[in-house]
Symmetry: C2
């Protein structure tokens, strides 16, 4: 068994990363979206990094996977008393992560180093890697102009219709040594794009200059897992955004977003009717159960995805012979 790289952001991708971590331990690297990061009260918040961190660290809330179990709101309550801002709401435990992150950045450390320190403190053997150390911010284009994803999500409640996305700063972002090392590992077995919103969780990662080429550098199969089941996102607003962007909210459209990048696509059994049309794009398809309610679900989906990638590898070898 070789090493595995997964790409993602949001709770679904974090759950799949956890399944992969339970199967592969230190041989997993998770490259995580930082386009939804934001500054609030002078502190650096990285919601996607923290979601993966808490999930792999085994301390994520079962009901709100983006924050630690037992999260409380004492700081936020006192901010209110003192006339401070109400949004974005701060959780106490989550705040500790941001405090240490901010201090590390102020000390001139890279986001990657800080995140790997968190991994060590939480006993996470896998590498959780920001997609880049440079600041990238996803902006949502609406009819009233561009807003940061954080504003769109917290202040606007994902209400305005989405007309497009911009990834501010991504041209200046660089592949970190740690990301390169993970993707250049001689025994890289698969690159797995987690079930997450393609526009603001996955695309920012892919837009880092050199990332798409690097994903394919070792020739390991690139496999995506659908964030949509029956045309709807389990969490988040992928379906809504796709309709507003004039796209059919289906696994076929998601596959289209990853055209010429992925070799295989894991879809839910519920969407099996779309399998042929995705295959017609030159993408292998594996229908399976993709909804992860339990830890076992995470491991099963991770195993199915790894098996699928192994099958693609084997087919290639056969074709080459």
């Amino acid at each position: 068994m070789g090493t595995v790289v997964t790409l993602g952001g949001q709770v679904g991708a974090a759950k799949l990363a956890d399944g992969l971590y339970r199967l592969r331990g230190k041989d997993l690297a998770a490259i995580v979206n930082t386009g939804d990061d934001y500054e609030h009260l002078g502190l650096a918040f990285s919601p996607d990094l923290d979601t993966v961190l808490y999930t792999l660290g085994g301390i994520a809330s079962a009901s709100a996977g983006w924050e630690p179990e037992g999260e409380t709101r004492a700081v936020q309550a006192m901010l209110r008393v003192l006339g401070g801002p109400e949004q974005p709401a701060i959780g106490d435990r989550s705040l500790a992560t941001s405090l240490l992150r901010t201090q590390g950045l102020d000390d001139g450390r890279r986001l990657t180093e800080i995140t790997l320190d968190f991994c060590r403190a939480l006993g996470v053997g896998a590498r959780i890697l920001p997609m880049a150390d440079e600041r990238v911010r996803t902006h949502v284009l609406t009819d009233d102009g561009a807003v940061t994803f954080t504003e769109y999500f917290t202040e606007l409640g994902c209400e305005p219709a989405v007309r497009g996305f911009q990834y501010a700063g991504v041209e200046e972002a660089r592949l970190s040594d740690e990301v390169r090392d993970a993707l250049l590992a001689p025994d890289l077995e698969a690159v797995i794009i987690g079930p997450a919103n393609p526009y603001h969780a996955i695309r920012p990662i892919l837009e880092v200059p050199g990332m798409k080429e690097m994903l394919r550098k070792r020739g390991a199969p690139v496999v995506a897992v659908t964030p949509l089941v029956g045309g709807k996102a389990l969490k988040g607003s992928a379906g809504k955004m796709m309709r507003e962007l004039g796209k059919e909210p289906s696994v076929r459209s998601i596959a289209g977003e990853y055209l010429r990048l992925i070799d295989g696509f894991v879809i839910d059994r519920e969407d099996e009717i779309f399998a042929e049309s995705v295959r017609s794009l030159g993408i292998a398809v594996r229908p399976t159960a993709t909804v992860m309610r339990t830890i076992d679900d995470r491991v099963s989906l991770a195993q199915a995805t790894l098996d699928f990638a192994a099958g693609i590898r084997a087919t290639r070898v056969m074709e080459a012979e």
Copy 2:
């Protein structure tokens, strides 16, 4: 009735300030020590300002007056999980105050403005004023060198013998417009030095260039309230420090610290035996009950102190006639 200014830091002085506030409302200004302020995790902590703020705002803990009632430690617990620093320990509600203060300072606002905003948010009609907007830091001189008061208090547990104090930065500190306005009020009736450690709570205030002169500018009586009862500080380490500095831990020594500054000194009835020797320094003395267990105790001591100051004023008028 005119306006009143009180000087202080620590819980005792905050309680007396609360008594004065209950009697005089918006006609009170509390000038507060910032020499014990510190930075931790990139945030600005002002323990003495916050103590007065919470106390006058009616949200101070009954058992730990330097923090809000119902304080919790979720952030600190998570800092521990993530390998962050253990000391100085952070309370969740207290952290909110530091977060907003830090953001205000980063935005270029003065500490005084930020503190007055907190007063408004908490409905505190009195003015709580930092002794200066510039950074002053009290250092404790020990046999092993100088340490900040925060290190002395939190990391060293007040263990090392005290050889002296330095107030770093105080030469560059300035009387703020708000402090000047309070002390130049035409109807200033009394300046009351609260019951607090003379070395690290009161002296830093007095060392701000021009402060001592300004306290006497309007000719209002300057009256101190003892922090020692029966040779011991109710809270804090004033008695210990005095012994280490080669001074008798008594109200006489405290009076000596304020020589040529105060007109009157409020001591506890328990220390009445020292009254004559304090009077021999040319300082009027008023023995009374100085221990503040209840809100009524605060108001009684405040009233007794104001009455004492009024008596000093009346005597002066008689002497002048």
